[in-house]
Each structure stands twice: as C-alpha cells, then as structure tokens.
Amino acid sequence: MRNKFDEQLSRLNHEMIEMGALCEEVIARASRALTENDKGLAASIAPLDSEIDQKERDIENLCLKLLLQQQPVARDLRQISAALKMITDMERIGDQAEDIAEIIGFLRGHQSEDNDLLREMARATIRMVTESVDAYVKCDTILAEQVIAADDAVDDYFTQVKERLIGRIAQDPAVGEYALDLLMIAKYFERIGDHATNIAEWVIFSVTGVHKGEEK
C-alpha cells in the first residue's frame, strides 16, 4: 500500500517538473518570438499551451486520487495540496504566454527601442519562472525567497515600460495602438511574475508548512 503511495507521489513530482518545464519553454518561446518578431514561433505556442492544460487536468486527477485513496497526512498532504495550487498558477502562465503570442501577431513588425526594456523584463520574468521551478525541484526555500524578492524588480520594469510608452504616445499619438499592445505584453509578463511568486510561496508552504500569505 505504502509502496503504491510512494510511487504515485514520485509520479506527481515527475509530472509537476514536466509541467514546470513546459511553462519555461512556453514563456521562453513567447519572449523569443517577441524579440525576433517570429510569427511562426508565436504560432507554436498554442499547442504547447493546450499541452499545459492537459497536464493540469492529469495532475489534478492524480492529486484527487491520492487524497481520496491514500488519505495522506503531514508533509505528504502539504505536498499534494501545494501541487494542486501550483498547477493553477502554471496553467495561468501558459495562458498568458499564449496571450502574448496572440498580441505579437498584431504588432505587424514594429521594432523600437521599447523592445529592449521589454526584453529585459522578459528575461527577468523567465528567470523567475525557471527559479521557481528549480526551487520546487530542489525543495529549496532560499531560492523560493529569492524568486519572491525578484517580483519587485519585474514590477519596476512594468512601471518603467508604462512610463516610456506614455512618453511615446505624447510625442506621437499615431503609435497609440502599438504602444497599448506593448503595454498589454508588459502586463502579461508582470502577471507571469506574480504567478511565479505564487509558485515559490507554495514551495515554501510544502517544505515548511507555513504559507507566506498567512505569516503576516
């Protein structure tokens, strides 16, 4: 009985890492599609997103089965409930990457210096996602804390992008639509950062049993 439980738990772990890797891939592709303005790459994101959705359902099923059949306690219970929460965030990351890809389709090959800042922002966000998955893989709470701290930097980037775009519209109202598209992309990256923060918080919960949100 216990053996089967362990086996299912390690399968859950396996699936979680795979889903995390999918998220990393999807956001990396979105960012590359943005900087290289590669429509083909942007189009390749949608199938990956549906794969992420499928993974979410699989993991959800597995978690519920584990909860019902094995009635886990203590650390195992925390791991499973944290996994249930994390997949929601991961799934949202996938959706937002797909949204970014969709907007890239509307950009019509505009290139400007705003992209540099956006690229920096994308890089910071990708790092957050990668490190949050790393923190899960290694059960590393210190790394998870770093991810949570890094969210402020991404938020700053968003403010900077916003201010720069306001300036651009003031100079030339004709770029309004383009600027708004870029703002949307920046917002999505910012949201992805928030989801990575959530994942990191759940990693801390699953290791220590204390959720960041309830400490205060």
């Binding site: 396996h14 795979e18 890797a21 999918l22 990393e24 893989v137």
Partner: protein, 555 residues
C-alpha cells in the same frame, strides 16, 4: 519460541497428570470395591444368623443409614424393609441377586443410580426357611470421586501452568541469549553451546563468500567509476523509470549538478523539453539524439535504451561536446560561401563582357578594352585558385622539400617583383637588414614575404612607404614589414588572418586582393613553427612581424 516451549511443557505435564489420576483411581477403586463387597458379605452373614434366630424383630432393631436390609419371601414378596414400607414394594423375584440367592443360596449384584453418581451393591442370602435376606449399601462411583477431586486437580493444573510458564521463559532465554550475543563477524570465535557450531560454521562460510563477492563488486564499481570519471564525454545511466543510477563528473559539470542527484528523477537534473522528449523516444524507439546548449557550450546527446532479456531496464545518455566542431562547421560553411562568392565575381565579369562581344554590342575600337578586362578577370581567377591550392597544400600538412635559404636575397627578389605594382600606387619599397639564413621551404618563405609586401602596397596611401627588414634574433629569424598605410581597426585585428576575411566588407575589387594573403602567411609561418604578430593603428600604418626558428646553429 517461548510459547512453543511453554506449550510442550504444559502438554507433558497435563498428560502425566491425567495418566496418574486415571491410574490411581483405577487401582484404588477396585481395591475399595472388593473391600466393601467383603464387608457387605460379612454383615449379611451376621444379619442372616440374627434373622434366623429372631425373625423380623431383629430387623426392626437395625437402625442404620448406611445399610438397608430387606427380607423377601421365596415368592418374591417383600416381607420387611428397613427403609420403606414393605407392603408398597413390588415383587423382587426378578432382581438379579434375589434370583441368584434362591437358586444358589447367595447372590450379589450392583446397580447404578439414576444420576450415575451413586452405585448400590446388593448382596442376598437364602435363609433356612426359604426367604431371602438382602442387604444393600450405596457408595460413590468413580465419577463422583473424580468430581470430588476436581478442586485439588484444578489447583495442580494451575500450578503446572505457572511452572511451565516460568520454565519456558527461562529456557527460551537460555537458548536465545547466546544466539543474540553471537559475533557474526567472527562466527568461529563464539563460545556458544555445541549444538550451534554447525550453524556457526555455515555462517562463517557464507560470510567469506559474501566478502569475496563484495570485494569483486566493489572492484568492478571502482573500475567503472574510474573509467567514467576519466571520460571527457558526459555519461548518465538511468533506470526504466528515468531515475539516475550513475552520473560521471563530466556530466555533473555539464548539467550543473552534484553526485547527490543519484537516485532522483532525471527531470531534476535536466528538465528541458527537447531532452524529455528525446528520453521518451529512446525508451520507445531504442535510440534518439538531441543537440542542445548547456552551460554555454553545445552538446550532442545520444540516448539509447538498455534491454535485458527483452525487457527495458533503463537508458544510457552520452553527451559529446560539439562546441569546437560546431565552430569549425560554421567556419567551413562561411569559407565555402566565401569561395563560391569570390570565384563567381570574376566569372560574372567575364561572362558579361563576353556576352557583349558575342552580340556585337561593342564598338570595334572598344574590343581590346573588353578583351583586356576578360583577361584581367581570368588572371584574378587564376591567382585566386592558385592561392586556394597553396592553402589547401598547407592544410594537408604534407612534407615539402626544405633547404637552407638566405632571407635577404629572397626579400630583395620579392620586392623587385612588386616594384611595378608599387610604382603604380606611388609607394616606395625598401629592403634592409643583415644576411640571415635558415632552413625552410623556399617557396613558402617567398610567399610570406611577397604577400606581406603585397598587402603593404595595396592598402597603402599615395606616396606611402613600405619597409622590409630582415634580422637575426637569437635562434629566430625576424622579418618585419612596416607600411604607412590605412591601418587595421583594432576590432578586426584578431580576424584578418582568417580566410577571405576583409576589413572592407564590400569585397571591393579595387584593391585586387583575394582575401587569402594573410591566411597564407599565417599557415606558412605555422608550417615553419613560427609566429606572426601584428601591430596596427588606423591611419598610421601596420607592422607585421614574423619570427621563424632558423633551424641551424650559427657556425
């Protein structure tokens, strides 16, 4: 064990108890029975004598609880009974003892009471007048006796239970304690009871066997670890579920993990999608390859399934560092593209001019110019192909005839051959230095000097100067070519020795170079185990120094 011992002791005890109780009962019971019968007979004869004398009067005097005396007429009618009213009693003729007494003078019989707990013994005697006197006494049966003895027996059983428990636990402790205290590392040195020695000998044999096998196994693991540790390629062994069984240092460095990942899912080592897909493919199809970048270098990962008896037992992952090869490949691609481009340019000029001539579009007085153009382009092509051939010769690395070469006359010869070209560009070329001789390939050394001077002239300014100096420098010969030309920007200085590399990206024809000159210089110097150094400043000029080992001792 204690339970088993307890049970056997108890069984033995109970069996002995039951046997002895039965035996004792049997013996005593029959003894008492005979005694009682004899007593009864005695009493009967006394009573009979008395009855013959006094008749029933005597009987009425008998007052006893233990005895019951009955007088029965010859026809079976009860005449008197000490306990019951004789009239109410039935005819006793059919009673066994009565009948016996009537027939043979005396009779005896016994009957159990309804409860079986009592037994009544009847003894009868025929008197002189034909009546029968019967006396009876009751006594407890065996069952009743046993019932009476039940309490003490139970007490004994309880005692037995307690005793067996104590004995059993003590015995098992005595058996087990030495077993627990056995030193299994040195089985033969134990001081246990002798029944254990066959076991100890067997343990000893087995232990030696295990030691030998362990040593062998360890040696094999050591060999494996040493071999894999020395490998440049990354090697990871996985089981059928993708758990890392072994990972060598090269692979640990490549994936940025430590040996602690052994026993963990391979996903914790590397979770990139292309890798997971490749692993899945290897597990299903038997083999897969993936090329990916890890920690800044490019790797080729070969994944193969491992099977044993038709069952998948795991996978092996081999990682080859392809960085150098990838670089070389890109260089080769660039070179091929360059060669094709360089070869095509003059040919297009030739074809263009030839077409114009063919269609008669050229005025007759212009024909020599066009033909001259065709010739010049063809010449350029020949030069280019010559350069490529020389380079590929140097690439082949074959041995060329070496001889003692005087460098100064060689330099003068090269300068002389370039004089016309120099004059066209209004560049003055001077050769100075001492007489230096070295062992080398004359043709290659000439190429070095010629190409350096040629470049110095080509990329010079109007009215510029080229200084060619030859000097001995210890074991080396030093060739220096300095010009007052346009110079090479510092960001290009590292690459000018590459084939077809040009500072001026437009590949302009006006300088007339092939882009291979410095490459030939570098290769020719390398062939002689020499070095080439470059010093240059934009707008001020370039100085290239070639140092070549002379390969001969000064006399």
């Amino acid at each position: 064990m204690t339970k088993k011992i307890f049970r056997s002791i108890l069984t033995a005890g109970v069996t002995v108890l039951i046997c002895s109780v039965l035996l004792v009962m049997g013996c005593f019971y029959s003894f008492f029975e005979t005694m009682q019968e004899r007593q009864l007979g005695d009493e009967l004869s006394i009573a009979a004598a008395a009855v013959e004398l006094d008749g029933t009067v005597y009987l009425e005097k008998v007052k006893s609880d233990r005895f019951r005396v009955t007088l029965i007429a010859a026809d079976g009618t009860v005449l008197y009974d000490t306990r019951t009213d004789a009239a109410s009693m039935e005819n006793h003729l059919e009673r066994e003892e009565v009948r016996e007494a009537i027939e043979s003078g005396s009779g005896i019989s016994s009957r159990y009471s309804a409860t079986l707990l009592q037994k009544t013994i009847y003894s009868a005697l025929r008197l002189g007048d034909g009546t029968v006197l019967r006396i009876s006494a009751s006594r407890a049966t065996m069952g009743a006796l046993l019932l009476g003895a039940l309490q003490p027996i139970l007490l004994v059983v309880l005692l037995m239970l307690g005793l067996s428990g104590v004995l059993a636990s003590r015995l098992s402790k005595r058996i087990v304690e030495p077993l627990n205290a056995l030193d299994l590392e040195h089985p033969l040195e134990n001081d246990a009871y002798e029944e254990l020695s066959p076991l100890l000998r067997r343990i000893d044999r087995q232990r030696r066997q295990i030691d030998a096998q362990l040593a062998e196994l360890r040696q094999k693991t050591d060999e494996f670890t040493q071999i894999t540790a020395g490998m440049n390629e990354g090697l990871v062994l996985l089981d059928d579920k993708g758990v890392v069984l072994s990972i060598n240092p090269a692979a640990q460095m490549l994936f940025g993990v430590t040996g602690a990942c052994v026993g963990q899912d391979f996903l914790t080592v590397d979770r990139e999608r292309s890798m997971s897909l490749a692993l899945r493919m290897a597990m299903t199809d038997g083999h897969s390859e993936v090329r990916a970048e890890r920690s800044g270098r490019e790797y080729q990962f070969d994944l193969s399934r491992i099977e044993s008896d038709g069952k998948v037992v795991g996978a092996v992952l081999l990682a080859f560092d392809m960085t150098a090869q990838a670089f070389a490949e890109s260089r080769r691609r660039e070179f091929t593209a360059n060669v094709s481009h360089e070869l095509k340019t003059p040919l297009q000029g030739i074809i263009g001019s030839a077409e114009l001539l063919e269609n008669g579009m050229v005025k007759s007085e212009d024909i020599p110019r066009f033909v001259g153009h065709i010739r010049a382009e063809a010449q350029r092509l020949v030069t280019l192909i010559g350069d490529i051939i020389r380079l590929s010769e140097l690439d082949e690395g074959g041995e060329l005839p070496a001889e003692t070469v005087e460098l100064l006359p060689l330099a003068q010869e090269a300068a002389e051959n370039l004089r016309t070209a120099a004059e066209q560009k209004n560049v003055r070329i001077t050769v100075s230095g001492e007489s230096v001789s070295m062992v080398g390939v004359r043709r290659l050394l000439y190429e070095v000097i010629y190409n350096l001077c040629d470049n110095a002239i080509k990329y010079n300014v109007d009215g510029g100067r080229v200084e060619l100096r030859v000097a001995a420098e210890g074991e080396n010969a030093r060739l220096t070519v300095r010009d007052t030309g346009i110079g090479i920007p510092s960001e290009h200085q590292g690459r000018v020795f590459e084939r077809f590399y040009r500072v001026d990206k437009s590949h302009s024809k006006e300088s007339g170079g092939t882009g291979l000159g410095l490459s030939i210089v570098k290769h020719a110097a390398a062939y002689h185990h020499g070095t080439v150094t470059l010093k240059s400043e934009v707008g001020r000029g370039t100085e290239i120094t070639v140092r070549l080992p002379r390969g001969i001792q000064e006399p």
